[in-house]
């Protein structure tokens, strides 16, 4: 290993772990093509770095049986539909779905594959119509179920023992189980053509980071869970922004609440 190799050797383990920025990763990848010693080191560490993921395997408390069964049902329904379509020589959008880089888009198309597979095996027009109606009903119920589950989860966080409440005008910011929620009632509607956007400030940060956008209902109600972990957050703010949100606030915050 020469001097140049030494310069790279310290980076190889970090590259194998997947924690190098793109520019540095490209340099290391190029070096590995021409240096057998460094490539051997990389091959040795890459597998072990991948095993680190094993430590995160979900426990029954993190993935309960009900959720686990629901997930499996969705995956296996799509897979069986795709297998049936393949057996019948029919192209299935499930294959397109799995190629998509967006998991949400993928799931939507996989669900579409299920409907398509059902259609492909039914010739009778009346039956197709009934299946269509039932599929739409099932899809609507699944959507409602997902919405109810999400709401139940947010409500559970709000009322969880040990949750911390930080009052704001017409509402509260709530820290519960490592999550942040914004609960509003009688909150003024966002200006025409605008939505509300939440912002978070991490400890030591000089600027706020953009979080989710949301709207209130006619009575000014909203219960929003931020995707960020509460760890290291020191403040939450809300401002009116264009639909889709902004990367930095473009209006005076409706409120800024420190989490202390």
């Amino acid at each position: 290993m020469n001097e140049r190799d030494d310069a790279f050797s310290e980076s190889i383990a970090t590259y194998a772990l997947g924690a190098l920025p793109a520019s540095e990763a490209a340099d290391v990848a190029a070096h590995l093509l021409s240096c057998a010693a460094c490539r051997a080191e990389y091959d040795d560490l890459r597998g072990i770095a991948s095993l680190v993921g094993f430590a995160a395997e979900s426990t029954p408390s993190e993935l309960d049986e009900l959720t686990s069964a629901r997930m499996k049902s969705r995956v296996m329904t799509a897979v069986r539909a795709d297998a049936g379509a393949r057996a019948n020589g029919i192209a299935s959008p499930a294959r397109v779905a799995a190629r998509s880089s967006s998991p949400w888009f993928a799931y939507g198309l996989a669900a579409a594959a299920v409907v398509l597979a059902v259609f492909s095996s039914i010739d009778d027009a009346a039956l197709r119509s009934r299946v269509s109606d039932q599929s739409q009903t099932i899809a609507a119920l699944q959507s409602q179920n997902a919405n109810v589950s999400a709401l139940e989860r947010r409500l559970a966080l709000v009322v969880a023992p040990g949750s911390k409440r930080f009052p704001v005008a017409n509402g509260e910011v709530i820290e519960s189980d490592g999550r942040i929620l914004i609960a509003l009632s009688g909150f003024p509607a966002a200006p025409s053509g605008k939505v509300y956007q939440a912002w978070t400030l991490s400890r030591g940060a000089k600027t706020v980071a953009p979080s989710v956008t949301f709207t209130t209902d006619a009575a000014g109600h909203a219960l929003v869970e931020l995707p960020e972990s509460a760890v290291n957050l020191v403040a939450v703010a809300v401002s009116a922004e264009p639909p889709g949100g902004s990367k930095a606030p473009t209006s005076k915050p409706t409120f800024v609440r420190t989490l202390s």
Binding site: A13, G18, V52, F54, E62, P103, A106
Partner: protein, 170 residues
């Protein structure tokens, strides 16, 4: 996996049963959002069904862990809220993790081996794998010089390999 390549639904279901908690756990830890973790888990397994040839040989659990991590990084990149922090580059997937010594390793052994690492080595490794952040961000968060972070990651991974090899040999 050979049977999955032949579109054997029962074989795929067995693999799903064996690995869905691993995929979900990584997704949940990286994304911090149960709904997003469910979606990602489903996407990973649908991808596996759609393109089973992507896995060639070696430790399947390690391979699907890496696939899950790379897809979680895609999700983090798509979240506008992460604009202030650079997401690290993916580790290239070449379909093979030829390490037969660890072919039968289970999660508990890895958890124990990780727990036995010195905190100064374990913490940057976990941040690097699950945090979706670069070594520069790890250095900032742990108030440690960049070079020291790299050194500790390398020492930690080597020690982890040694501990797991000993564990498997028992």
């Amino acid at each position: 996996m050979a049977r999955v390549r032949e579109r054997d639904v029962a074989a795929f279901e067995s693999i799903y049963d064996a690995y869905h908690r691993l995929v979900h756990g990584i997704a949940l830890k990286m994304l911090g959002d149960p709904m997003a973790a469910e979606d990602l888990t489903q996407a990973v397994f649908l991808k596996l069904w759609s393109a089973p040839d992507a896995f060639e040989s070696g430790n399947f659990g390690a391979w699907i862990s890496r696939v899950t991590r790379n897809r979680a990084l895609d999700v983090l990149r798509s979240r506008a809220l992460r604009v202030e922090t650079e997401i690290p580059a993916d580790v290239p997937m070449d379909g093979s993790l030829d390490d037969s010594v660890f072919a039968t390793l289970d999660a508990e052994r890895v958890r124990v081996a990780l727990a036995n690492l010195p905190e100064e080595q374990r913490h940057p490794i976990e941040l690097g794998f699950f945090g979706g952040i670069t070594h520069e961000e790890i250095a900032r968060r742990t108030a440690t010089p960049l070079g020291t972070v790299k050194t500790r990651i390398r020492a930690g991974l080597r020690k982890l390999r040694s501990q797991l090899a000993t564990s498997v040999a028992r």
